[in-house]
């Protein structure tokens, strides 16, 4: 239990720093990989829905404070944290839930990536829609959502192999 807690705290800190210190500063043609959702993806299935929601909100808020976008990442992350239990339930069988930490190895290739792709797409869509609220350019929005999602998924794919 303690080991699990320490492991996830470490993951939280490392990915968060990677996001704000490295990725947020890069510039590939309007597109930013948002790997911090991987923190939320990895939380154990046994973590209660209320905790997922609260921690998701805090995670988004921390990113916001660093990116000078109060509320934007928090809103998007809270949104996927709300949908996460339902998504997880949809892709894994009942017996597994007790112990499972969502990973490719434990869930199987296809269910895991269905779960990850849904979370990443929902999160990025919500985020970039909120960003473009006062300033709507459908083509740029699409480029941002798809481009960022592809980069985020690529990085998550690499993390899964470590």
């Amino acid at each position: 239990m303690i080991r699990l807690f320490l492991k996830h705290s470490l993951l939280f800190v490392l990915l968060f720093l990677l996001q704000i210190v490295v990725l947020q500063q890069l510039y590939f043609w309007y597109v930013v990989p948002l790997v911090y959702v991987y923190i939320l993806i990895r939380w154990p299935a046994t973590l209660s829905a209320g905790w997922v929601l609260t921690l998701g909100f805090l995670l988004g808020l921390l990113v916001d404070i660093n990116a000078d976008t109060p509320g934007m990442h928090a809103a998007a992350t809270t949104f996927v944290a709300f949908l996460r239990p339902a998504l997880l339930k949809g892709f894994i069988t009942k017996e597994e839930i007790e112990t499972l930490e969502p990973r490719e190895r434990s869930m199987g290739f296809i269910p895991f990536w269905k779960y990850v792709i849904s979370i990443v797409l929902l999160h990025h869509t919500a985020l970039f829609m909120l960003e473009s609220f006062s300033f709507f350019d459908p083509l740029l929005l699409l480029v941002k959502i798809i481009g960022s999602a592809l980069l985020s998924l690529l990085l998550i794919f690499l993390f899964e192999r470590f």
Binding site: V21, F57, T69, A74, A75, F82, S132, F135
Partner: protein, 275 residues
């Protein structure tokens, strides 16, 4: 009452979601204007420190490059000063003109955090109130205009750069005195729009755009960019044109904050007029 409590308890997950989501949206719509609090911005102490360390590391590796650039600029400046002094002396204006230049002071700053890929970009610099920075001061670098200070804590400030649609700058086309308003509309970071240019203005592609000096933030004549293309709206007496910005925002490192000695006096005067 009991039923209500039971109802709330049964759906507590959903209510927690509603509460957190509305909290986020309130933050988003209330604080995203440019008067956001220092706490919720990267000017707060912890983030400021974090970004300073990062900047110290990346700054070290760029030292040689920066040094060469500075030396090159320095020699360029020396040449320009020499030729300007010469022409001033010839015109007999030296005393008066140099006095006017004394009304501004540059405060050197380093960009410790920068973003260009977002729709509303912000950057953080390593100077704050204790270095004499105040909200509303202009920021530029050796290439041209950068932005305006939005909030400052004791040691750090957040700057709203040109690359943020929420801010516009009063500019003129050098040589013609036609005034327009410069605004960025998202997308390409090399271009912004100069709007509300009167119909009768004289200007052409390739003309230089500089600040007008009508706002408190900038003196007249800070370089902004060159006119890249012109767009005339058929049913309006105003033009707008695309401006290629001089400043490359992707690689901002050293900037200067412009402090006007007479800023307070000017602001007081303008406030009096409003009342």
């Amino acid at each position: 009452m009991r039923q209500l409590i039971q109802f709330l308890a049964r759906n507590r997950f959903f209510f927690l979601f509603l509460m957190l989501e509305s909290l986020s949206l309130i933050l988003l719509f209330r604080f995203n204007d440019y008067q956001q609090g220092v706490f919720f911005s990267s000017a707060n102490r912890i983030n400021g420190k974090l970004y300073s360390y990062r900047e110290a590391v990346s700054g070290f590796f760029a030292l040689r490059e920066n040094n060469t650039e500075l030396l090159r600029l320095n020699s360029e400046m020396e040449l320009r000063i020499a030729s300007l002094e010469e022409s001033l002396r010839n015109a007999g204006l030296a005393e008066k003109e140099l006095k006017a230049a004394d009304r501004y002071e540059y405060i050197q700053a380093r960009v410790i955090k920068n973003s260009v890929s977002q729709l509303r970009n912000y950057l953080t610099v390593n100077v704050g109130k204790q270095d004499g920075i105040a909200e509303g001061m202009g920021v530029c670098n050796h290439q041209g205009i950068v932005g305006v200070v939005s909030v400052c804590s004791d040691h750090f400030s957040v700057v709203i750069p040109v690359l943020n649609p929420e801010i516009s700058f009063s500019c003129i086309i050098a040589g013609s005195n036609s005034v327009g308003s410069l605004n960025w509309k998202g997308g390409d970071t090399r271009f912004a729009w100069l709007e509300e240019l009167p119909d009768y203005a004289f200007w052409a592609v390739g003309d230089t755009v500089v600040t007008s000096g009508f706002s408190d933030a900038f003196p007249r004549g800070i370089p902004v960019g060159v006119i890249h293309s012109i767009e005339k709206k058929s049913n309006s007496s105003f033009h707008r044109s695309q401006v290629r910005l001089f400043t490359s925002f992707e690689s901002l490192a050293d900037v200067r904050v412009i402090s006007q000695f007479l800023r307070d006096e000017r602001m007081e005067l303008e406030k009096e007029l409003e009342q």
